[in-house]
């Protein structure tokens, strides 16, 4: 068995809105093995970013709080860790990069200063050692003229270069897990290709695990070993990247894959998922996807399924009553108004 680096069990994160609590993440469980790249996929508002912030316990300045579940990192429950010890984990053992590097870099500090901080704080290097290491890190992430860039401010760099700097800061302490939250969404495709290549190379060189959070199925297909699909704050499907794309077991995953236009696909019309993502404060009863689902039955509208293991597979799960029907025909699409 491969060793689990991170094991999330029944995570619940709630946000206070007025006098009520809204569940942004409900009962989310998944794991990441060592050296594995796991994709966390879903559309806006599905809870994928809140999940990642919860893992890092970065909800302090928000109305949100973790109200249940465990986040086991190398066996230790991060939810229960004192803030002081958590600070040691952040940046040192688990590092994170975000979509917009400009909002995560300090605009009034030079690049060098920002890179040296984790090195002096976490690794106890001296100023001159840290400077040397900082230049070395910038070279590792493919920044030309590293010894000059160190004196630049973030605004003097392009978006792609800023993301490289963020990655350099993230890998500075050789973390065991890198959480990358939409790392290439703000970048152009040719720059995205450079950054994805870089993450792949660093993962291999440093024996890191990566949790890649994205809405882009193309990025998932190219980068990930395993995929977790989220909808309305829940995990709805889990499987290896091969299985998931070849044979999605949840109607939402299937709809998502089919609605993306693909190069040289040559179809006249795109499939689409009707309707909209439900508001977190007005969740439907039963399966949260049922109102948009072509396969929904009476049961789906009444009773929410758990994550059902797919028979004859290892670790394949789907939050669908029909997870173990062999074909989509067996599940039988029903048109509106005929449900049940």
């Amino acid at each position: 068995m491969t060793e689990r680096l991170l094991d999330v069990q029944g995570l619940v994160t709630e946000f206070k809105r007025g006098s009520s609590h809204i569940r942004a993440v409900s009962d989310v469980s998944f794991h990441i093995n060592r050296r594995e790249v796991v994709g966390l996929v879903g559309e806006s508002g599905c809870g994928k970013s809140v999940t990642s912030l919860s893992l890092m316990r970065l909800l302090k300045d928000t109305p949100g709080r973790i109200s249940g579940g465990k986040v086991l990192f190398e066996g230790r429950d991060l939810v229960k860790l004192p803030e002081k010890e958590m600070r040691h984990i952040r940046g040192n053992e688990i590092a994170m990069i975000f979509q917009e590097p400009m909002t995560s870099l300090n605009p009034v500090l030079r690049i060098g200063k920002q890179l040296e901080e984790p090195l002096t704080v976490h690794l106890g290097l001296s100023r001159s050692q840290a400077r040397e290491r900082a230049i070395d890190l910038l070279r590792q992430v493919g920044i030309p003229r590293a010894e000059e860039v160190i004196h630049d401010y973030p605004h003097q760099l392009s978006g792609g270069m800023r993301q490289r700097v963020m990655i350099a800061i993230a890998i500075a302490c050789k973390p065991k897990l890198l959480i990358a939250d939409e790392p290439t969404t703000a970048l152009d495709v040719t720059i995205q290709a450079q950054i994805l290549e870089l993450i792949r190379k660093l993962r291999a060189d440093n024996d890191m695990s990566v949790l890649l959070i994205t809405h882009d199925l193309g990025v998932v297909a190219e980068m990930c070993d395993r995929v977790i699909v989220m909808y309305a704050g829940r995990v709805v499907e889990e499987g290896t990247v091969q299985e998931l794309f070849a044979n999605p077991r949840h109607p939402y995953t299937k709809g998502l894959i089919q609605s993306v236009p693909k190069l040289r696909q040559k179809v006249r019309r795109l499939e689409s998922i009707p309707g909209n993502v439900p508001d977190l404060s007005q969740m439907p009863q039963g399966c949260k996807f049922a109102p948009r689902c072509a396969y929904a039955t009476e049961r789906c509208h009444q009773e929410e399924p758990g994550l059902i293991a797919v028979e004859g597979s290892t670790g394949r799960k789907s939050r669908c009553w029909l997870a173990n029907e062999q074909t989509w025909e067996e599940r039988g699409a029903v048109t509106d108004g005929q449900a049940g």
Binding site: E43, S44, P144, S158, G160, M161, D188, V189, T190, I191, Q192, A193, Q194, L196, E197, H215, D216, L217, G218, V219, V220, A221, E222, V241, Q242, F245, A246, G255, L256, I257, S259, V260, P261, K262, L263, R264, Q265, V267, R269, L270, E271, S272, I273, P274, N276, V277
Partner: protein, 328 residues
């Protein structure tokens, strides 16, 4: 061939620094030419800062070009005054990326949709309301939405309102600037399907501006690829995606992540970043990142030439006899 729009040698720069010292200009669009036929979708693709949005705004004269010509239905509209332009705007409407930023939050949806009718038609308020209800239905919203405000709608629904508004005056051309980029994939496909249905129904032409090559392939008839203010290649969709000629088009297409884990492709990874349009490279603007750069590319701007019927490319690799210069 029935041309709706013809653009010839269009140029536009923006003054970015005045006062002390030399004036500095940003060359946003540099000598581009293309045509849009009636009822077709012509797309402009390229990365941020390549000038595709500026081009869209030049075509409907929201911006005035420095030089070059714009013809609409056989009429030169390059130098028309704002007043003379107004009746023509009825025929060329615009849809923007962020419908929340482009729709007035204080107006009811029915008034937003019917507003262009006040300017361009003599319909009564009652008639306008009826038109608005009809338009909302056409874009997949109900009459129950007419009395609401924009903030009550999701991103996809807002974009539908933006489309209904553009459609209200029965335009011949819709300039759609990244209309689906801000939407989630499941919603994106709904809006793309809607745009295609409307095109079929009304014989609309689209100038579709996007950075997403998969979406562009799906929706377009012909495509122009832009890099740093210039068009580097124009061709019909199948030609461009099967046989891209310009090294930039080739790199761009190879960089698109494919949502299929079984597809393993040779990827051309371009080195470096986009140069600044304030100080663009000499010769071919792509030469600093081009994997097949030759000596001539650094000196001479390549001509935008038709290398086979309907397939234009600006690259010295395809000059007759240029290969004699050899690769450097």
């Amino acid at each position: 061939m029935d041309k709706l729009v013809e653009v010839k040698g269009l140029k536009k720069s923006f003054l970015i620094q005045k006062g002390l010292g030399a004036k500095r200009y940003l060359q946003a669009v540099n000598d581009i030419s293309f045509t849009i036929r009636r009822g077709e979708t012509f797309s402009l693709v390229g990365e941020s800062g390549c000038g595709k949005s500026t081009t869209g705004r030049l075509v409907n004269r929201l911006l005035t070009p420095d030089s070059g010509e714009i013809w609409f239905e056989g009429k030169d509209i390059t130098k028309l005054s704002e007043r003379a332009m107004r009746p023509l705007r009825k025929h060329m409407q615009m849809v923007f990326q962020d419908p929340y930023a482009s729709l007035n939050p204080r107006m009811k949806v029915k008034d937003l949709v019917a507003e262009p009718l006040i300017i361009h038609t003599k319909l009564s308020a009652r008639e306008r309301d009826m038109m608005a209800a009809k338009l909302l239905e056409e874009v997949g919203l109900g009459s129950q939405h007419a009395e609401r405000y924009v903030h009550e709608f999701s991103g996809g629904q807002r974009q539908r309102i933006g489309i209904a508004r553009a459609l209200s005056v029965k335009p011949k051309l819709i300039i759609a600037d990244e209309p689906v980029s801000a939407l989630d994939v499941s919603i994106q496909s709904q809006v793309i399907n809607l745009l295609q249905d409307l095109q079929e129904e009304h014989g609309l032409a689209y100038l579709f501006i996007s950075h997403d090559l998969s979406v562009v392939e799906h929706i377009s008839d012909r495509i122009g690829v832009m890099y740093l203010g210039s068009l580097v290649e124009t061709a019909d969709k199948d030609t461009l995606y099967e046989r891209p000629l310009h090294p930039y088009s080739q790199a761009l297409l190879s960089a698109v992540p494919v949502p299929d884990p079984n597809v393993k492709r040779e990827r051309i990874i371009l080195s470096g970043d986009l140069p600044s349009p304030v100080n663009p490279p000499s010769g071919c603007r792509f030469h600093t990142r081009c994997p097949s750069c030759m000596e001539i590319c650094k000196q001479r701007v390549p001509e935008f030439r038709e290398v086979e019927p309907g397939h234009y490319v600006a690259c010295h690799l395809y000059d007759e006899g240029a290969q004699a210069g050899g690769k450097s």
